[in-house]
């Protein structure tokens, strides 16, 4: 019996109506016009650092509905400041496909995938250790480089699962890097991020260090770098008091 991942916490930052938000001009949550996310890939930031049972329905039903309605409303409103689609918009995707089609002496998707899964399990598992996380960061970087050289034998145009799995591996590697690099950098325990060197003490309940680490991690694929932004602890509806931070006791 082994523990497995059944939910991905964090994701593409969104607001409550499904807009993807990025830091811009001093506002950490500036909507990107015409860009929406919902479901497990999104992070509307209602779960804190540990999504509790049945709460993923919020991502599906509440924010899924909201994102759909917002997208329709804004498209029909015609007010979106959208730029024309660049002529080379498809180049990035086509380059990924072309790379796969022409790769020779490459890596096996199955083996690189297995190594990625094993490394995530060993270095960023249920309980996390500083030395293992540090090692994990360089390991996942190596694996990401190998993933850039995957080769497929199946070149069929009909239901090609080998090609789909190779493309999925590229995506999984991005998430693996985000997870490993963010976890290594966060020197505390919080929610599902449980570090051996940040135990539960009177000063740091559940191993949490709110003075330093009460903030969202932002990971950028470009340069594999991190940034942070504040957590909004205030309910959006007026008159509702924020829930004070407390120790988790169950």
């Amino acid at each position: 019996m082994v523990p497995t991942a059944h939910y991905q916490m964090g994701g593409i930052p969104t607001d409550y109506s499904g807009h993807v938000v990025v830091p811009k001009d001093g506002n950490p949550n500036t909507p990107v016009a015409g860009f929406y996310a919902a479901g497990e890939c999104a992070c509307a930031s209602v779960h804190g650092a540990n999504r509790l049972g049945t709460n993923s329905l919020l991502d599906l039903l509440v924010f899924g509905k909201a994102a759909g309605e917002t997208a329709v409303e804004e498209l029909q409103g015609g007010q979106l400041p959208l730029r024309p689609l660049p002529a080379d918009a498809a180049d990035f995707s086509l380059a990924r496909l072309a790379r796969l089609e022409s790769q020779i002496n490459g890596e096996s998707v199955f083996e690189v995938g297995q190594d990625m899964r094993r490394s995530m399990q060993k270095h960023a598992g249920v309980f996390r250790f500083d030395a293992l996380l540090k090692e994990g960061v360089s390991k996942i970087k190596e694996i990401a480089e190998r993933a850039g050289r995957t080769q497929i034998g199946d070149k069929s145009k009909v239901w090609n699962t080998a090609r789909v799995e190779a493309l999925e591996l590229d995506n999984l590697i991005e998430v693996a890097k985000a997870t490993m690099v963010s976890a290594e950098a966060r020197k505390e325990s919080r929610g599902a991020h449980v570090r051996d060197d940040a135990p539960d003490t009177a000063e740091f309940p559940n191993g949490r260090n709110d003075t330093v680490w009460l903030k969202h991690t932002l990971w950028y694929s470009e340069g594999n770098r991190l940034d942070y932004k504040p957590v909004n602890l205030n309910p959006l509806n007026e008159g509702t008091e924020p829930i004070a931070l407390a120790k988790r006791t169950y």
Partner: protein, 236 residues
């Protein structure tokens, strides 16, 4: 200890490459952690990535890796390798068009499923909080809501093989009864009207292949019987 291995005979067909389908003989060495048929198939795909099958959750929840295993429909991820008679003969689900290898076109299956309106219909204004059910009312849905739409049942049913365009099939009818049995649903009459013709419901002749095939241990035949009871009760 010598390595375990599995001898497969697998239905292969890639319309892009093959003139016609053939059965491929192949033996694969297993690792000690390989427990289920899906583990062996993944290992096989690691060696030959042209081997095509659907799979996703690998724990019997998504319903993707349904296939015909030694003559019986089942999920590869829930089928133990130990005790499986060799050679393990794998074919796509019977009765649906093959797209490639073990992958079938599920369009007809989902068309039937959608035809029974698989959602609650209730035009009354929503109450301030939830539409509540008593524990006894909720109990009625057990054995109905757990269906994962893998199609093992419908593609084992001779009536569905014969009339996939007219007979709703066991999966669709199980779902139909799931909403007929729901105290929050108000479309009982419309739902029964929708099934009242010589084919949609009444092509079920209680062969019970569906019950035998269901990897979740559900009983579509019993649900179909209950719909027939409701039809009779409405008529008298």
């Amino acid at each position: 200890m010598s390595k375990r291995s599995v001898h497969f005979k697998i239905y292969r067909y890639d319309p892009d490459r093959d003139e016609k389908p053939y059965m491929q003989d192949i033996t694969i060495e297993l690792e000690p952690s390989d427990k289920k048929l899906l583990d062996a198939l993944m290992r096989l795909k690691g060696k030959d990535d042209t081997m095509s099958f659907r799979r996703s959750c690998r724990e019997g929840i998504c319903g993707s890796d349904a296939m015909n295993i030694n003559g019986k429909n089942g999920l590869a991820c829930l089928t133990a390798l130990d005790g499986l008679e060799q050679p393990v003969v794998l074919r796509p689900l019977p009765g649906l068009p093959v797209i490639r290898d073990l992958i079938v076109d599920m369009t007809q299956f989902f068309k039937q499923y959608h035809s029974i309106k698989p959602y609650l219909v209730n035009d009354n204004p929503p109450p301030e909080r939830e539409r509540l059910q008593s524990p006894e009312d909720r109990e009625e849905l057990n054995g109905l809501y757990e269906c994962i739409l893998c199609a093992c049942c419908s593609t084992s049913c001779p009536s569905f093989w014969w009339n996939p365009d007219k007979f709703v099939g066991p999966a669709g009818l199980l779902a139909a009864y799931r909403f007929l049995a729901d105290t929050r649903d108000e479309a009982t009459n419309e739902r029964l009207d929708n099934l009242e013709d010589p084919y949609r419901l009444f092509r079920c002749h209680s062969i019970m292949n569906c019950v035998d095939a269901c990897p979740k241990g559900l009983n579509p035949t019993r649900a179909i019987g209950k719909i027939k009871d409701m039809m009779v009760a409405r008529a008298v």
